[in-house]
């Protein structure tokens, strides 16, 4: 039955590198310009030209590989992938085949099969009426983009659902973004994610026939596309059909999957080693430089927050995914010092502070020390949490301030703790409502609200609710 067919998903990701020049020639990379203003005989594939690899692209590929925990090949070579298409001027793409620069790795729970370097195709646009050739449909080719360096990352089919796939793709994107090697923007095309989707009976080792899903330009569409394809495959198999290997396009507007027009014959790329390029054998210096330039990446930071700071996984991931916020968080933890609880700080930073910043559009985060002071005051019950939020709003507005002074100025100091004043007010409230007191004594817990309410009115909300509850019970002998 279809429901027992588990999803098996692998991803193929193309990352456009943000180098200054193309992969194999010195033409400048930039976007949105007039067509064909960044070309030369090499990227236009004139007769007689030769490619020379961009050293920065090699560096970026090493960084990506290391960030993904990949084995770096001691020696890798380029191959030619031969096929005819107007956006492929040499009629072969220089890529890597069986000896890629990066081998096996892992990101999160998903294994990486490989990552390799190649060059991007040019841009083809289909023209309208005026551009037709003899009345037939025509296309225009702009070679500005042709030759942009790409790193292709391929995963093992370890993903088991559409949501998981989209979530992991987001992790990959964030990881690569933090390396500073690409804009990784799906809408702009600097990040392209294709999915290989298949299903199989749960527990079976053999893989089902996979289809390839392309052209999804957002994480949401990626997820929806995979969901649609999984549903299609499950229904097909449930009805006794078999899945054909094909390439599909998902249209998010209609939710439909269409088979991309395929050529009459299957792809035969006739790969052979690129004779015009010599091997890449990363030296110790190249490897060290790439390694040293890696920032702490989301996966590692998440793990550190969980292990060393005691955050729960959701909290850790949330913070680790935003390096700026993570750095701030750590500064506040440091300002709070020993005796503070990072979990509490995390809640403040991702919860109340985020809300306060949103409310005060465009405001910056307050300096870490005042926030640390505020968190400490709430923890010591000097003010209530509600009072703390008021102080926070003021902090956000003023940026840096003396928290103690604000508490004083706004009169937010809480009554409670060792203060006998509170005990006295509680006693008075119990006395003035003997009916409620009797109800509480006979087990009606809800009646305590009336006494608490009276105390709060008397203290103008400055009592610590938990402490009031405790005193009421104590004085009633419960």
């Amino acid at each position: 039955m279809p429901e027992e067919l588990e999803a098996v998903i692998g991803l193929e990701i193309h990352v456009q590198l943000s180098t200054r020049t193309k992969m194999f020639c010195g033409c400048e990379l930039s976007f949105g310009d007039e067509p064909n203003v960044h070309t030369c005989p090499i990227c236009l594939a004139h007769p007689g030209v030769l490619p020379v690899p961009n050293e920065e692209a090699i560096r970026y590929a090493l960084k990506i590989g290391m960030a993904l925990g990949c084995e770096i090949a001691p020696r890798s070579i380029f191959h030619r992938k031969n096929y005819f298409y107007p956006d492929n001027p040499k009629a072969y793409q220089i890529s890597q085949y069986d000896i890629p620069i990066c081998g096996e790795g892992k990101l999160g729970d998903i294994r990486i099969t490989r990552a390799h370097l190649e060059e991007d195709a040019a841009k083809t646009i289909h023209v309208g009426e005026s551009g037709r050739i003899h009345g037939s449909a025509a296309s225009l080719v702009d070679f500005n983009r042709g030759g942009t360096p790409l790193v292709e990352i391929v995963t093992e089919p370890d993903l088991r659902g559409a949501a998981e796939a989209a979530e992991w793709a987001r992790l990959l994107r964030e990881t690569v973004r933090q390396l500073g090697v690409s804009d990784v923007n799906m809408e702009e095309g600097s990040l392209r994610v294709d999915a290989n989707v298949s299903v199989r009976p749960a527990g079976q080792a053999e893989l089902g026939t996979k289809t390839e899903l392309k052209n999804m330009n957002s994480f949401r569409f990626l997820q929806r596309g995979i969901e649609a394809e999984l549903a299609r495959q499950r229904e097909l198999i449930g009805a006794g059909g078999t899945v054909e290997q094909e390439t599909l396009h998902f249209d998010p507007a209609s939710g439909e999957l269409t088979s991309l027009r395929s050529k009459e014959e299957a792809h035969d790329y006739r790969y052979f080693p690129e004779p015009d390029l010599v091997a890449i054998a990363p030296t110790e210096a190249m490897l060290a430089e790439a390694r040293d330039s890696l920032p702490e990446l989301p996966a590692a930071r998440t793990a550190r927050y969980e292990a060393e700071l005691g955050l729960d996984q959701a909290q850790a991931r949330l913070l680790a995914g935003d390096p700026e916020q993570a750095a701030y968080f750590e500064a506040v933890v440091a300002a709070v010092g020993a005796g503070g609880e990072p979990r509490v700080v995390a809640n403040w930073v991702t919860g109340d502070l985020t809300a306060a910043l949103r409310a005060a559009e465009g405001a910056d985060r307050p300096a870490p020390q005042p926030l640390a002071d505020l968190i400490g005051a709430v923890a010591a019950k000097t003010i209530s949490h509600a009072g703390g939020k008021q102080v926070l709003a003021i902090l956000v507005a003023e940026g840096d301030a003396d928290v103690a002074a604000i508490i004083e100025r706004e009169g937010l100091a809480q009554i409670g703790g060792d203060d006998d004043e509170l005990a006295g007010i509680v006693a008075a409230a119990i006395e003035s409502d003997p009916a409620a007191a009797e109800q509480i004594r006979s087990g009606n817990g809800k009646a305590i609200g009336a006494i608490v309410g009276a105390v709060m009115r008397e203290t103008k909300g400055r009592a610590d609710g938990g402490e009031v509850n405790r005193l009421i019970r104590e004085q009633l002998g419960l």
């Binding site: 180098t19 200054r20 020049t21 020639c25 010195g26 033409c27 400048e28 067509p35 064909n36 203003v37 960044h38 070309t39 030369c40 005989p41 236009l44 020379v52 690899p53 961009n54 050293e55 920065e56 692209a57 090699i58 020696r75 096929y83 005819f84 298409y85 107007p86 956006d87 492929n88 195709a121 646009i125 289909h126 023209v127 551009g131 050739i133 037939s136 449909a137 025509a138 296309s139 225009l140 080719v141 702009d142 070679f143 390439t247 027009r261 395929s262 009459e264 014959e265 792809h267 035969d268 006739r270 080693p273 004779p275 390029l277 010599v278 091997a279 890449i280 054998a281 990363p282 030296t283």
Partner: protein
């Protein structure tokens, strides 16, 4: 040893069109050449590394510094059908990949 079907298949991969007479001639000529070339298939070359480069170089790279591209007029000067600053072609009836 290379038949008509194979000739047509290879011609399509190479984007060459051969008429019937050419297909027949080509099949004959290629078979003759392959017949000679086939001698190497029988050689015992187990364990021999293939030579893809006679030059033993590594890491010949280029600094990521932009150079002056060609003016678009020059880029399009050789174009058989320039149109609006781009290279015009009949639309592909299939997707590349």
């Amino acid at each position: 040893m290379i038949d008509r079907e194979q000739v047509l298949h290879v011609a399509r991969l190479s984007r060459l069109r051969l008429d019937e007479a050419e297909v027949e001639t080509m099949a004959g000529e290629l078979s003759g050449i392959l017949g000679h070339v086939d001698r190497i298939r029988g050689l015992d070359l187990e364990g021999v590394e293939p030579t893809s480069h006679v030059v033993q170089l590594e890491n010949v790279l280029r600094a990521d510094v932009p150079w002056q591209s060609m003016p678009p007029a020059v880029a399009l000067a050789s174009a058989p059908e320039p149109f609006d600053g781009a290279f015009r072609v009949p639309s592909p009836q299939h997707d590349a990949d």
